[in-house]
């Protein structure tokens, strides 16, 4: 399912125009992003937690040439599924 299809579904179940559904959706993702930018994690009960994970610098490799490359430290957004979410998929 892609974003367009998701918006279409939401438009139906939320009884909103597609444009409004999309605005609503974007507002939510942006709010989550803003919180994460402020170095805060976002916990959503029954769904999961978004947090910014810091990754250390390390040695990588160019798969084409085999050449070693230094990879800088970085950050990425991690999503940890809530317990309830795991259970849905493990029964």
């Amino acid at each position: 399912m892609n974003k367009k299809q998701l918006i279409a579904k939401l438009s139906g179940s939320l009884n909103l125009s597609k444009a409004d559904a999309e605005r609503t959706f974007d507002t939510i993702t942006n709010t989550i992003l803003e919180a994460l930018k402020g170095d805060d994690s976002v916990k959503i009960a029954g769904f999961g937690t978004y947090k910014v994970a810091k990754r250390k610098a390390r040695v990588g490799r160019n798969p084409r040439t085999g050449e070693q490359i230094q990879i800088a430290a970085s950050q990425k957004v991690k999503f940890l599924p809530a317990k309830a979410l795991k259970e849905v998929f493990n029964r």
Copy 2:
């Protein structure tokens, strides 16, 4: 930030009551979950992709006792941040 705080923020920016903001939010997460249950991944451009990752059974270990343990196969929801999302945190 927890769900309650997120809902409060959304209530403001979406100009909805907190109850409506929560219903809207829950509808979205449920829609995503339903899609994932159907073994589908959910791609949201500019944000990320949710997908169900299947993990094979394997041998683990109790870190306290060192004892070997059989770990059953399982599934978990994985979130892969979109390119744009990574860039936000790596500049």
